[in-house]
């Protein structure tokens, strides 16, 4: 993918579902907010990433061009 996973921190309220669905790219900080690995999403994780983006209850996850 030419895209990376980003979280909009103004929308994210720390549900933590992303970390459960995508532990390869997302861990939670001590307050429950996601720490997302930057960089192009590996092909093998593409489906899981798309699922996390769709399932985030706050719609805070986004796939954006790598910056």
């Amino acid at each position: 993918m030419k895209e990376e996973l980003r979280v909009d921190p103004t929308i994210c309220s720390g549900h933590g579902l992303c970390a459960e669905l995508l532990p390869e790219l997302v861990t939670l900080d001590e307050w429950g907010y996601p720490i997302v690995t930057r960089g192009a999403v590996p092909r093998s994780l593409e489906r899981h990433v798309r699922r996390a983006v769709t399932d985030c209850p706050a719609l805070a996850l986004k796939l954006l061009p790598v910056s």
Partner: protein
């Protein structure tokens, strides 16, 4: 000393001291010949320049008659933004000029930094340079929608409305200019917070992308320039790139406004060249440390500052930066940790509260600093603070967490001897009279962001 309000109501800027100087070169014995400074401020004193004086000194704004023509002139001049980020001005203009929908142009005079007075002073004394710059920038990008976003001060805003009306009557301005109130928040001048406010929402930063030059005020491509940047544009358009480059250094050309806080309490706005030695701006005797870049900047030991110039070339190498020209000399008999803790608490209160890492991390960092500022502090406070700093950096919608941790980390380094002092129950200044300026009132609820 303390300041009761961010801006005094009964005196012109910058504050209780009538401290506008137009110092053009070294404050010491002086060896430099800086040429034609001051450029932005009048030659004598702080008397505001009215339209007639402005026109007789600099003539009417030199419209190019075509959009885009100003941009190569600014590129040749090498002007960078004077709001703190030092981004090349011509590139911002180019990006907005290329937009396919009608752009908006905003002059940013919010100046939310409590230690900075230069924008308010410039707007009070030389509004017409700023207003010229707005018109020229609007012409360059083909904009019909222009506003000036101004720090909340009724007298200043009234004066600016009068200046705009006068220019309109004299048919100097092509595009009408709206004066828009900026709430008195530290983050009110952040580009995306500004765009939100002008779009009718609270002045809170937004996630990027998109950046405001792509989608800003009501979704339109928005050009945002600090008011001092606009004043430089107004002069470069008249006198050209070579004139601009006659001051400053080849890599960092031109002059800039600085807000200087001397160790003896004097507070001045001065115009100086980039590359001026810091020891020519601040009286460093009796000073232990210099804060460069305001409350998102960094502390430097005084001995190190004495060897540096006002340039990103020097300051960035030391972890600091020029920023918007705030320079503070901390007296030797003050506690740098206590001062940093006071400001860190202010910065935590000024979080927009939108992003989990920021609104969780900044208050904890501030509390840990309070702990370190007390006698025999819990030794975990420093390690906790450093962990939290690592957790907040890069994880907000704006650079508030990053700027705060830069400031705090530099304090932990520069004031490490004082930290060791505190561990043994001693402090250089047990009296703790405040030195760094902070506003009296903080945001108490959401309405304060409007």
């Amino acid at each position: 000393m303390t300041y009761g309000t961010t801006v005094p109501h009964s005196a012109p800027f910058p504050g209780p001291q009538q401290g506008h100087t137009t110092r053009t070169g070294p404050a010491g014995s002086g060896s430099q010949s800086p040429g034609d400074l001051p450029r932005l401020l009048p030659v004598h004193g702080a008397v505001p320049v009215d339209l007639r004086t402005h026109l007789s000194r600099d003539a009417a704004p030199p419209y190019f008659g075509h959009s885009g023509k100003l941009i190569p002139v600014l590129k040749a001049a090498g002007l960078t933004g004077r709001g703190g980020a030092a981004f090349p001005v011509h590139r911002k203009l180019q990006a907005v000029a290329e937009a396919r929908t009608q752009p908006v142009v905003i002059g940013n005079g919010a100046e939310g930094e409590p230690a900075s007075d230069k924008d308010k002073s410039l707007l009070w004394i030389s509004p017409h340079l700023v207003l010229d710059g707005l018109q020229l920038a609007a012409e360059a990008v083909g904009s019909q929608a222009v506003a000036l976003y101004v720090h909340r001060n009724a007298r200043l805003q009234e004066r600016l409305r009068a200046a705009v009306a006068e220019r309109s009557a004299a048919r100097i301005d092509v595009v009408p200019v709206e004066i828009i109130d900026a709430p008195p928040r530290f983050l009110a001048g952040e580009e995306s917070a500004l765009a939100s406010r002008i779009s009718g929402q609270p002045a809170m930063p937004r996630f990027k992308p998109p950046r405001v030059f792509e989608r800003g005020v009501v979704g339109r491509p928005t050009l945002v320039h600090n008011v001092e940047t606009l004043a430089h544009i107004a002069l470069i358009a008249r006198y050209g790139p070579a004139w601009f480059r006659a001051a400053g250094t080849p890599k960092e050309p031109g002059s800039m406004l600085c807000t200087l806080h001397q160790a003896d309490g004097q507070r001045d706005v001065v115009e100086t060249e980039l590359g001026t030695p810091l020891r020519d701006l601040l009286q460093l005797d009796g000073t232990q440390a210099v804060l460069s870049g305001g409350y998102h900047g960094a502390w430097l030991p005084a001995a190190e500052a004495a060897r540096m110039t006002l340039s990103n070339e020097h300051l960035q190498a030391a972890g600091a930066f020029v920023g918007a020209g705030v320079l503070v000399g901390l007296p030797a008999d003050r506690c740098g940790i206590a001062e940093t803790a006071r400001v860190a608490r202010y910065l935590a209160l000024e979080s927009a509260g939108q992003c989990g890492p920021c609104f969780n991390g900044l208050p904890r960092i501030a509390a840990a600093l309070d702990e370190v500022a007390s006698p025999r502090p819990d030794p975990r406070a420093v390690t906790d603070m450093i962990r939290w700093a690592g957790l907040v950096e890069g994880r907000g919608a704006c650079h508030h967490p990053d700027g705060t941790t830069r400031f705090v980390r530099s304090a932990l380094h520069v004031f490490r001897d004082e930290i060791a002092n505190h561990a043994e129950g001693r402090c250089v200044d047990p009296a703790r009279e405040p030195f760094l300026p902070l506003p009296a009132d903080s945001a108490l609820d959401e309405a304060d962001w409007n």
